[in-house]
């Protein structure tokens, strides 16, 4: 592996961590749960890895177990992503939607 690729990845990692720290400063208590749930749905991004893994395993032919593992990961990540965004949406509709109607 070219060390510059690794350094690039580490740079991305460190910068994103700093960005993440700065991104959220003040959150009203009402939004704690929806924010947690929305961020949780984003952490389902490992779905990208699962997609690649499931496909490579299929192509390789001789890596059945890896393929199954990646497929299970794909299903779990998809539950995380779809369920996470849907649940967050439901919560926010109840909080924010009613609020707008009340004004």
């Amino acid at each position: 592996m070219d060390p510059t690729i690794l350094i690039g990845s580490i740079t991305l990692f460190v910068m994103s961590i700093f960005l993440g720290f700065e991104l959220i400063t003040k959150v009203p208590a009402t939004l704690h749960t929806p924010l947690m749930s929305g961020a949780n749905a984003i952490s389902g991004i490992s779905i990208v890895g699962a997609l690649l893994g499931a496909n490579v395993a299929y192509e390789g032919g001789d890596t059945v177990v890896s393929g199954i593992l990646a497929f299970v990961a794909l299903v779990l990540a998809m539950i995380n992503v779809v369920g996470g965004f849907a649940v967050t949406n439901r919560m926010l509709n109840m909080i924010a939607g009613k609020k707008r109607g009340g004004q």
Partner: protein, 475 residues
Amino acid sequence: MIDDQWVGIGYLLSATLFIFGLKRLSHPRTAPRGNQLGAMGMLVAVLTTVLQMELGDGIEGWILIGSGLLLGGLIGWVMAVRVEMTGMPEMVALFNGFGGAASALVALSESWKYIEDDTLEIPTGLELEVMVVAAGLSALVGWMTLTGSLLAMLKLKGGIEIFGKWIRTPTWGPSWLNPVKGLLFISTLVLIYMSIQEPTETDYLFAIIGISCILGILLVLPIGGADMPVVVSLLNSLSGIAAAFTGFIISNSVLIVAGSLVGASGLILTFIMCKAMNRELIDVLFKAFGGSDKEQLTRTKIGSDADEVAMMVDGAQKVIIVPGYGMAVSQCQHQVKEFADLVSEKFDTEVKYAIHPVAGRMPGHMNVLLAEANVPYDQLIEMDEINPEMPEADIALIIGANDTCNPVARTDEGPLAGMPIIDADMARTVVIIKRSLSVGYAGVDNDLFYMDKTMMLFGDGKKMMNELNAAVKEL
């Protein structure tokens, strides 16, 4: 199918959408849009990935990927749509566990390729080191997130039913457990180091997975149910970190960016939540609750009835309603709203709601439920603003809340010490709807129940509110 530079641009777009999504999720007005932006980012990431892949010569590639997406999407959607508002926190914990497991499984799948297929050339040098370390760390964090989240979910539920028998989720954590956790953590790091020497040794791999699972359980086991929101938030941060480590294994930029974004912002959210509860994160995680969790109940209190309470309400100018988990369990938010409407029409009584930041099982739990019952937003007052009004209130009506208005928190004894509370005991009369005198989540007796000015309505929230409403109508 598409060129590498388009893949890079697709992932950049996706990461940008995540950043704006998270930013907007932290403001009430923009939050729904923020969630949509996040979902769009995810869609872009998935589409970019699928378009980039060589999906083989047969339809089987598409079928495999498509059925995985469909199956997971369907399960997730059904779970999200069907869950009751009271079950929301558990659901978030469960999804979070799935996310952590997915990251760990991708890492495992990558490592396993080299174990089961001899023809694949095992990488050497730096590439091997990066792969093994990232896979090890992803496994550690991912499996820990899975078992920790599952236990957190059970703790939020309060227990589990096995063969019709209700088993309460235990809380156990002597102080010697902390060094054990430390040792397990270090041994995982040693195992990862050893895996670099022998990357195809499956014993190391299984040992890392096993220890990580145990660590997740040991991390959550000593923590009481009241602190569970903080723990779920921390586990959410960890599942992001697991995704980022997985990104290192497959050199994928969007995994690294999105994962570390969630990891960092999740940690900040954890600190914000701790602050709202006046707790230190270190105390929550590593300081076991003192004392026994089964406090003996020696005092008694005579219950009142709905008619008696209705007469009290008749003379009241100001009623402050303090909802808690009991309201969520009995789903009586509509009856509560009906009560508020009744008394404000009939007796011209001012009604407000006192919202403790961690009432229920998750921050914002009460807001969600009351919003569902169409309670006007401006009547929901946060703790710090309502407390100065408490002494002017004729009645504080507590519905299924316990620890969040336990005066013992003002002293420095016991697990509740220092937690900010709703000053319900300052009101002229306190009415408490509760099924029994039993202790709350923190396992501490509540002096509020036994005060002379307190009237207890023993019973289920919905039943008692219905009786109370009927009694008010009759007056």
